[in-house]
Amino acid sequence: MTASEKTAKAGSTARTTKAQAARKAQPARGARQAAKETKDTKAVKDAKDATGTTEAAVAADTKETADAKPSRLSVFKTYKLYVGGKFPRSESGRVYEVTDSTSGAWLANAPLSSRKDARDAVVAARKAVGGWSGATAYNRGQVLYRVAEMLEGRADQFAREVAEAEGLSRSEAAAVVEAAVDRWVWYAGWTDKIAQVVGGANPVAGPFFNLSTPEPTGVVAVLAPQDSSFLGLVSVLAPVIATGNTAVVVASQKAPLPALSLGEVLATSDVPGGVVNVLSGKTAEIAAPLAAHQDVNGIDLTGASAELAAELEAAAADNLKRVRRPSAEDWSADPGIGRLTAWLETKTVWHPMGV
């Protein structure tokens, strides 16, 4: 069978079931592609091109339907968790509705994480500790800078999400995103400088070198601020991973979408899987097992209310977790290095001197 015969045959078959073919073609290929094919139909027909024979047939077929300009089907994004470098749904299968902060309109369904998701996230974070804390500070700085680069490229998306989440105008939201990118860069610069600032050689009364070096705490659970869904989130997360810890982040309960999208940025910016794990859902529900978890080394209670924070602090005492209590914070102010040193342990080594 020659190519042109094939075209004719395919064409006639398709014509007999015209409506069927049109219906089939659209959802299968996506409406945009079908429309594009329609545009090309004339040229393809004129040239009697032998390539893509069946496409030509289908395209010829969709010509009539295209006159009606079918409206494009919306493609909604399924927001998912970010755990261990993958994007799972909640183990529980639950979701909750996220709404626009001003109009109250539905934006998306976010996963409603369970305590098992928290447990899985801790396992992933623990697995990542060795590699990430063992990476050179310089390398961590490069990776964090890469995150800033990736964020810059998706600034529009984040500006939209932040505007919807926090009821800001587009220009205000864009400024928040810029500030967040700058904050990543700022913390990226600190990775290989913090040791010089908080570590050092200590003068001792004896024939010893005495050196103090800061080391990462380990797995840190981070309750992201509830009010600042993006700049606040970046301001609490970046210092945790800049110092070589790995993080399990509980996103803002009512505005988790920027955090879940941040997971996508981290997945494409050389941050090893498991270094950052993002959970969405009810803060109190997820935070309780994290605070009690024996394999979590620190917890940042920034996003917890006063009563919840007290409860979590008591639970965290069992394995002597580092706890950072919540306080009113201005996210646009100079952050200082307080959040970096909160997740560092000082190791002091005595070394004999002389011959």
Binding site: R119, V122, R126, P289, A292, H293, Q294, D295, V296, D318
Partner: protein, 331 residues
């Protein structure tokens, strides 16, 4: 069949003689093994996967965890094993979780033959068995007298259980009688001077048997030859115990007991690392062979890292807090 006897009972041999005609000659044995019904691989895997979806929670989970701990053959089979490592493993077997004395003991400590004496001494009168691999484990590629010397040395050093490997080369090339005789001879070598005998576990190395049909044939072959336990694998190859091949072996021991009235145990080994996996195997046992097999006498896990995960889950059930690797031993 009026009653059931364990494979190590004195009258088990008498029961087996009921099937003496199938083991009378090489050709009769081949005819019998090839006459076993073929395995529906898709059905088997679907059944194993289906049984793996059962949800075992709260008190049932607590029971399953304790049962699984009591079924573990805590294993160290490394070239780098030292007496110190074996002793610490024994200490762990006796008292798996020092923070909770209600934790059950493991069933046995599984070591290489030269470590049997060390393990025996470390375990003392704790009641935990010492299992020893033998017959040129894991390859099984040695002369018969070497394999027997290996076995006798382990028994003489005090091993309560012998884990032998079969000659997969002979089995795969169809020399069934040779494998049958090998198992019989090793079983004879397990006898002690006082008339008792070490229990014999026969390792098939399922990963090397290629097909489910071969695993079914091998199961029957080993049981006919007098195995007390049939064991999936050495843990030294890529494919070890899987739910499907363990299910197949459980079906074999069930059918064998129905046929001749002799009960044989099953031991999956290798690749079982989490509590979830272990509980899935227990479901398989209960649903396939029945609860007669739900005891350390009839079902064992060959594992090393599984115990830590079981202990962490046990701590979680007890305290309500997720535990971590900082609270169990590094082994």
């Amino acid at each position: 069949m009026s009653s059931v006897v364990p494979a190590y009972a004195p009258d088990a041999a008498g029961r087996l003689s009921g099937l003496a005609d199938v083991t009378a000659s090489d050709s009769a044995l081949r005819r019998f093994l090839h006459g076993l019904p073929g395995v529906d691989a898709v059905g088997l895997e679907a059944r194993a996967a289906g049984l793996g979806t059962r949800s075992i929670k709260t008190t049932a989970k607590a029971y399953a965890i304790d049962l699984a701990i009591s079924m573990i053959d805590l294993t160290t089979l490394e070239g780098a094993d030292t007496p110190g490592k074996v002793r610490s493993l024994c200490a762990k077997g006796v008292l798996p979780d020092p923070t909770d004395r209600t934790t059950p003991r493991v069933a046995a400590i599984c070591v290489y033959p030269d470590m049997v004496a060390v393990a025996k001494e470390a375990l003392g009168d704790s009641g935990i068995h010492v299992a020893s691999v033998a017959t040129a484990f894991p390859a099984g590629r040695a002369a018969m007298d070497v394999k027997l010397a290996d076995t006798r040395a382990a028994v003489a050093a005090g091993a309560d259980e012998i884990d032998m490997v079969i000659d997969r080369g002979a089995f795969l090339s169809g020399r069934y009688m040779e494998v049958f005789e090998e198992i019989r001879t090793v079983k004879a070598a397990c006898a002690r001077g006082d008339g008792s005998a070490a229990h014999l576990k026969v390792i098939f190395e399922n990963g090397e048997l290629s097909t489910y049909d071969n695993i079914r044939r091998c199961s029957w072959l080993a049981m006919l030859a007098g195995a007390d336990f049939i064991k999936t694998s050495t843990g030294k190859v890529a494919v070890n115990a899987t739910p499907a091949n363990t299910l197949l072996m459980l079906e074999a021991v069930r059918d064998f007991r129905d046929t001749v009235g002799v009960q044989v145990g099953v031991k999956p080994a290798g690749g079982i690392r989490t509590t979830k996996d272990a509980v899935k195997y227990l479901v398989l046992v209960n649903e396939t062979a029945g609860d007669d097999w739900l005891s350390p006498d009839w079902f064992r896990f060959g594992a090393s890292s599984l115990l830590n995960d079981l202990l962490m889950q046990r701590q979680k059930l007890r305290t309500g807090r997720y535990s971590g690797p900082d609270y169990v031993t590094v082994d």
